[in-house]
């Protein structure tokens, strides 16, 4: 299945993953809407949920709500719960209301929530019924962003999985293509497109694209490369469509980006010399940018709380390219197949924790007193007030961080809290 063998260290040194179960201080998958609605410009996200869901999204999206947003919540009320029968009529009415306000929407996602999942409201059925009614103007899809099923970035995974299922099938004998999977900032997408063109890999398509209507045709001649580590579900969907995945480290930092490109190049038979030729200068430029932050981070003890599944990849970047010491790397889930190359690159003995028990992890954090703690916003200020430097983790998702040109910015995100502490005299 996997086209490229893991790069780097030997299997035996791979750190063991320890599971922890308890209270989890994480976002649910609905939060993915906050960035997905900006990426997919002709889509509308309608959460079918409760007032809590609406409140969550507006709290997470902060001041973005003022513009005519491309997301909303259909808030279930007492009378909806009293009799299930009219729920679908109600949904049709609300969808009509949404489309009246946003006639430009081409794809409407019905996003499931905890309440809608618990009462087993069949959104997939509703989506296909509405799709049949609204075709060809609007396509209606569904996925779950509920907290009981998804953690933070897994909302994107569920969304992209739903999109992939909608993609047209590849024509028989179609030429090989590469599909990059994961919502990337437009500027990063363009940089990667240029790099693959220079490597001679073409065509290269992106999932999701900027428009929901432009989906790549998928099939056995499609190889896909994950740009984000949290897309295991989408990968499984692509596998089921006959596509094959390329496994490699994720494109964070200079080394990470080169390794990621190399994995794709190998799968497409691009010679190693060609890869060096294309990457050498850019990789070097990234190293220069990273090195400006190395002094501040080298030898620093860093702890990751679980949040986005980016943690193992970012920890690898901090450790191998910035010389930081890893105390503990927490992640909500670790997809073994896709994370294997990253885990191989982590220092032997790195404490890897899947899942969470937030109070116990806080105990460990306070005992270890790391130089930098990467954690969510509910924990960051309380730890700062205890004198511990923190990097709030959500920013790592809302900032362009992938690829060579962002490698310095990524390092800077971790260096900034430390620089700030040095600067403040009060």
């Amino acid at each position: 299945m996997s086209a490229a063998a893991p790069i780097g260290g030997c299997e035996t040194a791979r750190p063991q993953v320890r599971s922890e179960r308890g209270q989890r201080a994480v976002f649910c998958g609905l939060t993915g809407i906050v960035w997905l609605h900006r990426k997919i410009q002709d889509a509308f996200f309608l959460v079918v949920g409760s007032r809590t869901c609406a409140h969550l999204i507006q709290s997470a999206a902060g001041v973005m709500i003022f513009a005519e947003p491309r997301f909303a919540t259909a808030i279930m009320e007492e009378r909806d719960l009293a009799g299930m029968a009219d729920m679908h009529d109600e949904l049709d009415r609300v969808v009509a209301q949404v489309l009246e306000r946003r006639p430009d929407a081409k794809t409407l996602f019905l996003v499931g929530s905890c309440p809608s999942e618990v009462i087993k409201l069949d959104l997939a059925k509703a989506a296909s019924r509405l799709s049949a009614k609204l075709t060809p103007d609007v396509r209606v899809l569904s996925y779950s962003g509920s907290g009981i099923e998804t953690t933070f970035t897994e909302g994107e995974d569920a969304c992209l999985s739903a999109l992939a299922r909608e993609a047209p099938r590849e024509a028989p004998g179609a030429e090989p293509q590469l599909v990059i999977v994961g919502a990337l900032p437009d500027i990063v997408e363009d940089q990667f497109a240029r790099l693959f063109a220079e490597l001679g890999i073409s065509p290269v398509r992106f999932l999701p694209g900027r428009r929901s209507t432009e989906l790549p045709a998928l099939g056995p001649n499609t190889r896909y490369l994950l740009a984000q580590p949290f897309l295991g579900g989408t990968a499984a969907t692509l596998d089921a469509l006959g596509c094959s995945g390329v496994v490699g480290p994720f494109p964070f930092g200079a080394d990470g980006t080169t390794a990621w490109l190399t994995a794709a190049a190998k799968a497409f038979g691009v010679p190693a010399t060609k890869v060096r030729e294309v990457t050498a200068l850019k990789e070097n430029r990234a190293r220069v940018a990273i090195s400006r932050h190395r002094a501040r981070l080298a030898g620093k003890r860093v702890m990751f709380f679980p949040d986005s599944q980016l943690e193992p990849s970012l920890a690898r970047f901090l450790s191998t390219e910035l010389g930081a010491e890893l105390i503990e790397v927490g992640s909500p889930y670790i997809h073994g197949r896709w994370l294997a190359p990253e885990l191989d690159l982590l220092p032997a003995g790195t404490e890897l924790v899947e899942g969470a028990d937030v109070d116990r992890q806080l105990d460990r954090c306070r005992a270890a007193r790391p130089d930098l703690t990467v954690c969510g916003l509910g924990i960051a200020n309380p730890l700062e007030a205890e004198g511990l430097a923190t990097k709030w983790s959500i920013e790592l998702l809302f900032t362009p961080t992938h690829g060579y040109e962002q490698a310095g910015d990524l390092a800077e995100l971790f260096a900034r809290p430390l620089a700030r502490r040095e600067a403040l005299e009060v």
Binding site: A25, F27, A54, A74, M76, G378
Partner: protein
């Protein structure tokens, strides 16, 4: 189902968290799915609190559904007690947990903790944040002051006078975590009460412990600062301890003076000296000639009931604005807001649908909007100056500086806040006189707010009646009217034309309408 792009209030369990977080020694175990911990960042980020809210979430996942969730809740209760050792515990469900019906109250009782445990029934599909806060506070007060109430009943006390002696005393009820300016309002009102010689016994929920709630009955009366949160509890305290409570919210100079008279009456002290002091600058600022041009500025007010009602009085009686619209999202106090609107000759807008609020603002063409964070967004879209006077608010309305809205200093803050977004007097005159200046252009944002407006799109022109034709000259003449009253002029002229049966509007019609309606 209700389509919502934005909600004025969170679900009721957020209200409960606001009460728990405001207090000390209280812990809240919330049966909730993974993800509901987003609520923590309201407190750690927006309010910038230094501690995590005292909330343990069960954060169940799909794989836990079934009998497992009840056991998960019980172990969460046990663990939270062991770890945090609270003096009292709240136990309740979020919207999803309400659906799986684990009976948090019964399960908590079965754990058998040696502290008071208050089960919360907060119907998430009917009620909202403020109701949740009020209910939680009431349940806590009832549970913790209950023993004292029983003892009092047993002793046969009948009126509020028995047993109380020494300095007159009161409690301050209502301030919570995440409340709009609660921190500074409390400081201001406490100072005011102490100046009157009244002792403040307990402030609650903000800063109070369960032990503090147990002695609420010891004060002579209660000061209810935020009825949305404290009215239910104050009603119970009145029944149990014969404690009267205040009914005037001290926002604005007039209301503060009324409040002083009310508390002086309840405490049996003389307010003359305190009232004689000219303690707010608002009256002079508002009377000084530079405020002349504020007269009859058309203002739309929306917020929680307390702030909406109070600001209507400040705007109309203390700043000389003309209130053209008044509304609230607080259905529990709709009657009070309707009465306040009626007194101003208006019909109140009672709605939690921000699209309806937006439509009303667009129709009314106010020159100033006083509202919540959402009205800030609406006003920005419509190009209307705006000030925030009520929750919900974002991080910028939890300022570092002292900024009450209550009491005399609060009135000073309100004067500045309400006048600041408006174009300053001289500039307003000059823009109306010389319309084609290349810098101070028509409908440019006030130049004292220049940086905020640099990238703003031009404000939207209000939609007009398509059945009536504006002749070219009339349209040109209309453009000469300053932008902030232009929408109103357009509407008045069209109304006038319709009433007069005119098919087209000329320059003459425009001025006929002006003479007919006044400005």
């Amino acid at each position: 189902m209700q389509l919502a792009m934005w909600t004025y209030e969170g679900p009721p369990h957020i209200g409960a968290i606001r009460v728990a977080t405001a207090m000390t020694g209280v812990h809240y175990v919330l049966h909730a799915p993974q993800g509901d911990t987003y609520a923590d960042l309201l407190f750690t980020m927006i309010e910038r609190r230094k501690e995590r809210p005292p909330v343990t979430y069960t954060t169940f996942q799909a794989r836990d559904l079934g009998s497992d969730t009840a056991q998960k809740l019980q172990s969460a209760i046990r663990d939270a007690y062991e770890r945090f050792r609270p003096q009292a515990m709240l136990v309740g469900a979020s919207c999803t947990a309400e659906l799986i019906q684990d009976d948090p109250g019964g399960l908590a009782a079965a754990v058998g903790l040696p502290i008071p445990v208050v089960p919360l029934e907060l119907p998430a599909y009917q009620k909202k944040e403020n109701w949740g806060a009020a209910e939680t506070f009431y349940r806590l007060v009832r549970t913790l002051a209950g023993p004292a109430a029983q003892a009092r009943r047993a002793s046969g006390a009948v009126s509020g006078e028995g047993g109380r002696k020494g300095r007159p005393s009161c409690n301050i009820l209502g301030p919570t975590a995440l409340g709009f300016r609660h921190r500074d309002d409390v400081q201001e009102i406490r100072r005011l009460l102490e100046t009157l010689g009244i002792e403040v016994r307990v402030v609650a929920p903000l800063g109070a412990s369960p032990a503090d709630l147990a002695r609420l009955g010891e004060a002579d009366f209660n000061v209810v600062l935020y009825p949305e949160i404290a009215a239910t509890a104050a009603g119970w305290l009145k029944r149990e301890f014969a404690q009267p409570f205040t009914t005037v919210t001290p926002i604005g100079v007039g209301a503060t003076r009324d409040f002083i008279e009310e508390v002086a009456g309840l405490a049996g002290v003389d307010p003359t000296e305190v009232l004689a002091k000219d303690s707010s600058r608002l009256p002079w600022y508002s009377r000084s000639v530079d405020s002349n041009y504020l007269t009859d500025k058309r203002v739309f007010i929306f917020g929680d009931s307390t702030h909406a009602i109070a600001l209507a009085r400040v705007a109309s009686k203390e700043l000389g604005f003309k209130v053209v619209g008044l509304g609230t999202y607080t259905r529990e106090f709709a009657r009070e807001v309707r009465a306040a609107a009626g007194a101003l000759g208006l019909e109140a807008l009672i709605s939690d649908d921000h699209l309806e609020v937006e439509k009303r603002i667009a129709d009314l063409n106010p020159e100033l909007v006083l509202g919540t964070q959402m009205e800030r967004h609406i006003a920005k879209r419509l190009g209307v100056p705006c000030a925030v006077i009520s929750a919900p608010v974002h991080v910028q309305d939890f300022p570092a500086r002292t900024s009450p809205v209550m009491g005399f200093e609060g009135a000073n803050v309100l004067f500045d806040t309400l006048v600041h977004p408006l174009m300053m007097g001289l500039e307003e005159h000059l823009v109306a006189m010389f319309r084609d200046d290349f810098e101070f252009a028509d409908n440019a944002q006030p130049s004292h707010l220049a940086t905020a407006s640099a990238a703003e799109p031009a404000p939207a022109e209000p939609a007009h009646d398509a059945s009536i034709v504006w002749e070219g000259d009339a349209e040109k003449e209309l453009r000469k009217i300053p932008f902030f009253v232009r929408g109103k002029a357009r509407r008045n002229t069209e109304t006038y034309a319709r009433q007069a049966g005119l098919a087209a509007i000329t320059v003459e019609t425009l001025y006929d309408a002006k003479a007919h309606f006044g400005r």
